[in-house]
């Protein structure tokens, strides 16, 4: 069957993308790009969401061990094949999926795809390969433990993610789990995971869709059917500002602050992502250019996790000053102080970034697959520049105000006793009290009263920001005809408001009615 070509209506979307399903149901997305190098990515969907505290890291260990050989490509033969082709086979493991990526010359793709499929479906899991993988994992985890630049991202998670959240599990495992998981555990796990319903394949390179289909049908097309339901991901985000400090052997201080971001496909996502790129520019300008507080400062937003986050990062010898400026920068963007020149710069830079990514098959495979997993559409991650081009500075501010609420600060430092920062800096976008409740005070307006679009809006007098109030207590404000109040509540994504761009507050208490 000839693959159905997807023609791109939007000019910036890549051309020559085709999608088809193998006989066992595995979805394949391929982009034909002339050249000599092929990229083939196998996504196994689930990540830490299908792991537990007791077996976290098992998928990474099992896949790494499986890639040592299997089926008609036992270890010795598979090593010969990999040597002869000089192919690269790499694994990356995250919260929502694992990805095995094959990079090779075009002539070797049929052989290597066949070998990879057999390694996954009929893994040898020899004692030597399992122990080698275990040694590698433990070495890397030991290094991570003492590397403040890697450690600080985990430190910030402690305050950011509620206990039991699947993203608190480690895709690479822990030293304890990596030391304990057996080859029998791995075999059982792979038997459950390597099934067509859990797998997505993406490809970029010169091989056209029809030939590719022939190659994959005979290799991945015979993997067993079935699949595993992947549990949903609860929202993260701390109920109040948090600060977690970790002391380790470091000669400067590492800081990461995280906050919630729109999930994939959400209408606010382009604006939030662009806003964080503006914040990135401003951190460079303010922290590095103006104040020389840091060598490394940056900001951004994840875009493809089931639950995303925005982040800011800095290393500095003056954490108090640096963190204060980080919060100020974020606040300035949220409060509408965005120079249109900055937004134009973000659009232009994104166009360049997309051009750079178009040059490597690995990046193309990653974008195609992550887009499908995040939203169901391969094109999701290809049109950011185009979407940014339709935004106004006000859109960026509104997105930050709506999503960036409480701040989860993680700090790794060489001398916690002398740390000049004792409590978290509020991002200050939403005024929050000691209990983690948003406290708003100001005039109340009811939009479209009595209609299905009826919405209660409170404009906070201290910040000037409007909020949509939702929940039963908010409805009672309408019934009571209140025109001004101090209300307490929590940020929520539940409920509905006619003004979609406003952050929503689930009202729990009305403390004072002026």
């Amino acid at each position: 069957m000839i693959a159905a070509m997807i023609l791109c209506a939007v000019t910036l979307l890549p051309e020559n993308v085709a999608a088809f399903h193998l006989q066992n149901g595995i979805q394949v997305i391929t982009r034909t790009i002339p050249g000599e190098v092929e990229g083939l990515s196998v996504f196994i969907i689930g990540g830490t969401r299908v792991q537990s505290p007791e077996n976290q890291g098992i998928e990474a260990l099992a896949l790494e061990a499986a890639m040592a050989g299997g089926g008609s490509f036992p270890g010795e033969r598979w090593r010969q094949v990999m040597d002869r082709t000089r192919a690269e086979l790499t694994g990356s493991y995250n919260y929502d999926f694992s990805r095995l990526h094959l990079r090779c010359l075009s002539e070797d793709l049929p052989l290597l795809a066949g070998g990879l499929a057999e390694c996954l479906s009929l893994p040898e899991l020899s004692e030597e390969s399992v122990e080698r993988v275990r040694r590698q994992a433990v070495s890397q985890l030991n290094l991570e433990r003492v590397d403040p630049d890697r450690r600080v991202w985990l430190t910030s998670n402690i305050g950011f993610m509620p206990e039991g959240h699947p993203y608190l599990l480690r895709p690479d495992g822990t030293i304890e789990t990596a030391s304990r998981i057996t080859s029998a555990d791995m075999a059982v796990f792979l038997e459950r995971r390597i099934r067509s319903g859990n797998i997505l394949i993406t490809h970029a390179g010169p091989t056209g869709p029809d030939v590719l289909r022939g190659i994959l049908e005979n290799t991945f097309g015979v993997l067993p059917e079935g699949g595993q339901e992947v549990p949903g991901v609860p929202p993260h985000g701390a109920p109040r500002d948090t600060l977690v400090v970790e002391e380790m052997d470091a000669t400067t201080t590492y800081v990461v602050v995280k906050f919630t971001a729109p999930p994939p496909g959400h209408q606010d996502q382009p604006a939030f992502q662009a806003a964080m790129m503006v914040v990135d520019e401003l951190l460079w300008q303010v922290l590095r250019t103006d104040h020389a507080l840091t060598y490394a400062a940056g900001a951004g937003a994840t875009t493809t996790y089931a639950e995303n986050w925005g982040y800011m990062y800095v290393t500095t010898s003056s954490p108090l000053h640096a963190c204060s400026l980080m919060a100020q920068v974020l606040r300035s963007v949220a409060e509408g102080d965005v120079d249109p020149e900055l937004l134009q710069g973000v659009v232009r830079t994104q166009v360049t970034m997309e051009g750079i990514r178009a040059q490597t098959m690995n990046a193309q495979c990653s974008l195609l697959g992550a887009g499908v997993i995040a939203t169901g559409h391969w094109s999701t991650l290809f049109d950011a520049a185009e979407r940014f081009g339709t935004l106004t500075p006000g859109d960026l501010s509104a997105a930050l105000r709506k999503w960036a609420d409480t701040a989860a600060w993680g700090i790794v430092t060489g001398n916690a006793g002398e740390l000049d920062m004792q409590k978290p800096f509020p991002l200050g976008i939403h005024p929050i009290n000691e209990e983690g409740l948003v406290v708003l005070s100001g005039g109340i307006e009811v939009l479209f009263p009595g209609s299905r679009s009826e919405t209660v809006v409170l404009t906070d007098e201290s910040t000037g920001h409007p909020y949509a109030l939702v929940g039963d207590r908010a409805k009672r404000l309408i019934e009571e005809g209140v025109t001004g109040a101090t209300v307490l509540g929590r940020l929520t994504r539940e409920g509905w408001s006619v003004r979609q761009e406003l952050p929503r507050i689930h009202v729990t208490e009305v403390r004072r009615e002026p």
């Binding site: 190098v37 070495s139 030991n142 290094l143 003492v146 590095r288 060598y295 490394a296 010898s317 166009v351």
Partner: protein, 429 residues
């Protein structure tokens, strides 16, 4: 208009090479995969050119590239221009080369070239901006010092570099703290001249038009003739067997061994043999990897020849748990002993090793950006021009077993080595 002097075939890609009247080497190649172009300037300088009094200044200079110049008065204006052009940029300082590079939409190519010229030719070295950058570089130094590998890096510098500053790119804090605009200008006059640099333009461009733009925009760069780079002596020396115990992270053991390797300029054949030998050692189906990793205690291991103009090294390195470091070292020593004999190698493996180097080059062509900022500048510096790189494929293919054993005999078997053992106990063990 300048003629393209030479069209070089780089694994099927046409790489146009030219030298402008001022001595600037220019390389251009078209890649129309995406509407972007990468412009890279490589300058022959780095830590290897420094003295104790200037250790860290090549790197400091690289930071000042991103500051004010004659066209953009300060870093804020510079940042704005970067945004206006959608530039993705960076720079790196290594021991033997400093590279500056930008990527931007090909429609803005000429503006990108002018941006690079202004930064390269007319830096202001404003005292105030230098004061601020001093603090930035200090933070970079402290970040490096927090790395789990910092102690190993320092041990290597102090052991195999008779002049340790030539192996120390980040430099000394005292030098960073006292750097002045005057020493920056001295550096500029000596090394930042057209005849000591190369310009690489790869991407969605017409090669001839790109060369013409290079001539018009970079033609005013003075030729210089003051660089001592090509006259520098070797930077490394391992005169006797030395073992250094290095303190490392808990739970991590690492064995690292360095021997002096062949120089491209004095033993070109040795360098080809060294690369084929290293490629052979990294075959996972042959005994080095099998005995040490597949069936041995290492979680990963490598052996190879590291091409460097002034510090060519033969190195072995591998991660092993601290409680098995003795076993790992004994096995590694046994392999090193055995690789001096012809029986260690098989003909098929040697052919495969040479073929892998050819394939590596094909793979390196995937991204013209990577070619422009990594592969081509590296080889231009190491080979003192592109001829070495362009004859590389035929040369490695011609290597035979006797070349490999000659290499091992000359550079490994009978040569002293510096051995670094990284364990949590370090020097206490």
């Amino acid at each position: 208009m300048n003629a393209i002097l030479l069209i070089l075939n780089l694994a099927g890609m046409n790489l146009n090479a030219s030298v402008l009247p001022n001595g600037l080497s220019v390389f251009t190649a078209g890649d129309h995969t995406a509407p972007v172009v990468t412009i890279c300037v490589a300058v022959k300088t780095g830590a290897t050119c420094e003295t104790p009094e200037t250790n860290g200044l090549a790197h400091f200079y690289e930071h000042m590239f991103f500051k004010g110049n004659a066209a953009l008065p300060d870093q804020t204006a510079y940042n704005q221009r970067i945004r206006a052009l959608g530039i993705v940029r960076n720079a790196t300082t290594s021991r033997e080369v400093v590279r500056y590079y930008i990527t931007l939409e090909s429609a803005l190519f000429e503006q990108g070239m002018e941006f690079m010229r202004d930064a390269m030719l007319t830096p202001l070295f404003d005292q105030e901006e230098m004061e601020r950058e001093r603090m930035v570089i200090t933070d970079e130094y402290l970040r490096n010092a927090s790395s789990p590998w910092w102690n190993l890096w320092k041990a290597v510098e102090n052991t195999v570099y008779p002049e340790p500053w030539r192996g120390n790119t980040i430099g000394e804090l005292s030098v960073i703290q006292s750097a002045s605009p005057e020493v920056m200008r001295m550096f500029q006059e000596k090394y930042y001249t057209a005849d000591n640099a190369a310009l690489f333009i790869l991407g969605d461009i017409d090669e001839a038009e790109a060369l013409e733009a290079a001539r018009e925009i970079f033609g005013e760069w003075s030729a210089g003739g003051r660089s001592d780079y090509d006259m520098l002596e070797s930077a490394i020396s391992v005169e006797k067997d030395t073992t250094v115990a290095v303190s490392g992270p808990e739970g991590v053991g690492y064995i690292y061994m360095i021997l002096e390797g062949p120089s491209i300029l004095s033993d070109r054949r040795g360098t080809y043999a060294g690369d084929v030998w290293g490629s052979y050692l990294n075959l996972s189906s042959r005994r080095f990897q099998r005995n040490l990793v597949t069936e041995g205690p290492f979680s990963e291991v490598y052996g190879g020849f590291h091409t460097q103009r002034f510090s060519p090294m033969v190195t072995f390195g591998g991660m092993v748990s601290p409680d098995r470091i003795g076993e790992g070292l004994a096995l590694l020593e046994a392999e090193i002993h055995a690789m001096g004999f012809p029986e260690y190698y098989d003909a098929e493996g040697i052919a495969m090793a040479a073929e892998l180097l050819r394939r590596e080059r094909l793979l390196s062509r995937e991204s013209s950006r990577d070619l422009a900022i990594q592969t081509l500048p590296f080889w231009w510096v190491q080979g003192n021009g592109m001829e070495y790189f362009l004859s590389y494929e035929d040369s490695v293919t011609a290597m035979e077993l006797s070349d490999i054993t000659d290499f091992v005999d000359a550079y490994i078997t009978r040569r002293p080595r510096a051995l670094f053992l990284v364990t949590p106990e370090g020097g206490e063990k």
